[in-house]
Symmetry: none
Amino acid sequence: MQAEIIAVGTELLLGQIIDTNSPKVAQKLAELDINVFYQTTVGDNEPRLIDALQIASERADLIITIGGLGPTVDDLTKQTVAKFLKQELAADEQALKKIIDYHDTTSKPMSENNKLQALYLAAGQSLKNDNGFAVGSFYKNPNGPDVLLLPGPPWELEPMLTNYTVPVLQKEYKNTGMLISRVLRFFGIGESRLATKLADLIDEQSNPTIAPYAKKHEVTLRLTAQADNRESAIKMLDLAEDKIMERVGIYFYGYGDDNSLVKCLANLLIGQQLTISAAESLTAGLFQSTLATFPGISTVFPGGVVTYNPTAKNKLAKVPVDVIDTYGVVSRETAIEMAKGIKERLSTNIAISFTGVASGELEGHKAGMVWIGLAYEDQPVEAYLYQFGQDRQKNRERAVLTGLDLIRRKILNQTIPEQI
Amino acid sequence: MQAEIIAVGTELLLGQIIDTNSPKVAQKLAELDINVFYQTTVGDNEPRLIDALQIASERADLIITIGGLGPTVDDLTKQTVAKFLKQELAADEQALKKIIDYHDTTSKPMSENNKLQALYLAAGQSLKNDNGFAVGSFYKNPNGPDVLLLPGPPWELEPMLTNYTVPVLQKEYKNTGMLISRVLRFFGIGESRLATKLADLIDEQSNPTIAPYAKKHEVTLRLTAQADNRESAIKMLDLAEDKIMERVGIYFYGYGDDNSLVKCLANLLIGQQLTISAAESLTAGLFQSTLATFPGISTVFPGGVVTYNPTAKNKLAKVPVDVIDTYGVVSRETAIEMAKGIKERLSTNIAISFTGVASGELEGHKAGMVWIGLAYEDQPVEAYLYQFGQDRQKNRERAVLTGLDLIRRKILNQTIPEQI
């Protein structure tokens, strides 16, 4: 079973709006085990839409158009599809009544175009629009691919898709299987290294599939299992996860698409009521502002300092002048004093510090060299050394994420992966 | 001149990620007056990518692929396009060196796949990747449509597109006239309000065209003039700019695609050697870390404090306890004391403070209420009140940008637009 999505709209081709509809439809199709091999975007233009329909009809069992069902002159999807299929359009009486009633109630003038929104492919069925006037349409085609017409505004498409379209597709194309995904998140390892370590698993496994994705400064693995029932699918995912964890488990930090290092750490800090402060040099506030993206963090985060130059390191974080003079600002000793200083100052359970070279050169050290100091409860203050790359902003971002991960590991008493 | 965009990636077909690249590329093409009639999305699958290339080559003069240039086994765009075109791939020596150096510096093991990222279409030219390893490729095809290969990660695609691809396309596909663009940047006014104020100009002008774009928290206007020579084009742009400035000049802050409020302010501070510090509550370090994105800022920025709770406001920014008790943390008085406190502490020419309600409610004030305090040289410390929206992160970002703009206006002695 293969479907092809055709998104219709000149504004899409011009890049004026981002197509969030096709991914939504594709996700639902994946859940229904309907493959999508191609998606096409085409403008509000009859011959080019017909061209796209022609190509799609040669390679798909189901064609789904999105958009072009509205009342304006450039909305021509329905008429063009009807012409292409040589099918008639008919009015959905309920939808037509809704349109007429609306114009009566609001005393707005109604044009003939408004009525067009109630039309659907007469030989098929109409799909209700909870948030607008334009009905959708599903047509089971005895002579070619089936056709589904959906509206373009996301607030109209979503309820139509979930409430009225999925049940129809389920009934028409039901299969017995169950498709379940799981996302594993990793920090401290690049996409290519992760993929290399798992190469045989990724290549050999077809169920569940294992797909690595590079995110900003982290990598995710999406495992997708297909089985007769939920329990079997979950068992398959568990097995695959075990094999993965054996090899790269040390870099794993959490599950799910909607997750992040800062979320994991903030939940830990709040859950265990561990207070935290920070003294930041090269990151200049980025650690603290990242932590503060999490609502509710104020109960455990009183604040901290940004000590961008040596004077501020001394005045705000109480780093002794002779430590800076003796060891330099980019040093284990300064990192340790910064963390110690702010921890004492704000009486927190944890304090972290960042000092290093964001770009260029400093004290003979090259760009990307970063010391992270960590004062944890009454334990001796430690400092960790890293060598990142050349890019100023990336170095600062990686330092922040590395800091978040360090504290997370410390709280959970997990191994800290290799530095430098 | 017609181009076709082919986005490559199974995760796109499955709806797991939203394609923001194609719109970005489409926008640039529109600016270059290159039409896009079709966009296709296809998975990481050789035969289906070849199928898409075949169809595109029958209807386009330029085929642009996005994605699939990375180091993993499912990255096969480059190899597939080379096969389709019957062209060789060659290594970009500089890019290869960058890959090898990176693995040397970080002591990470390098796989053969990593090296593949340096390959480009040998008969064409390589396009530099500022934020990654995979080079792009442009091939001027004597026997069919030209081909452009771009990487999938948006942070790699964007700089490659703007810095290296657009100049190539401009050179290759220049139309006879001279096409010159100018970008005007505005802060403090929304896109729809700006467009309304300029509606007649935007509608009536066809040369130069005036196109508004909504950016994050700001708006740009792109003026594009076509003329026989550079001088005439520039004269046309100047005339249009004058008309625009008459109406919305108060919100204008700078020129160019590669510009920002922080860049404008940092240049002013460094140019005039004005030192700056900050005391941040709701922004929690975001102002300072934004300022520090600018290399060279350390000469004028010693540091500052993040005073997320009242204790920190008192301990780090010397806000008297009775001021907080009497007026609350979200108040003119606290904002003023925060700015005053950190200015004294670090002896800077300028100090700024932020206190307000990022989300939820605080001291009876609703989300989005923000006080910004500004201590400027020996002038009396002032505070400005704003009411932003509901979104936590957006409120913090808008506060930071508003602060940058306030200081910029203060230095330049410009009018400060309406608050609240």
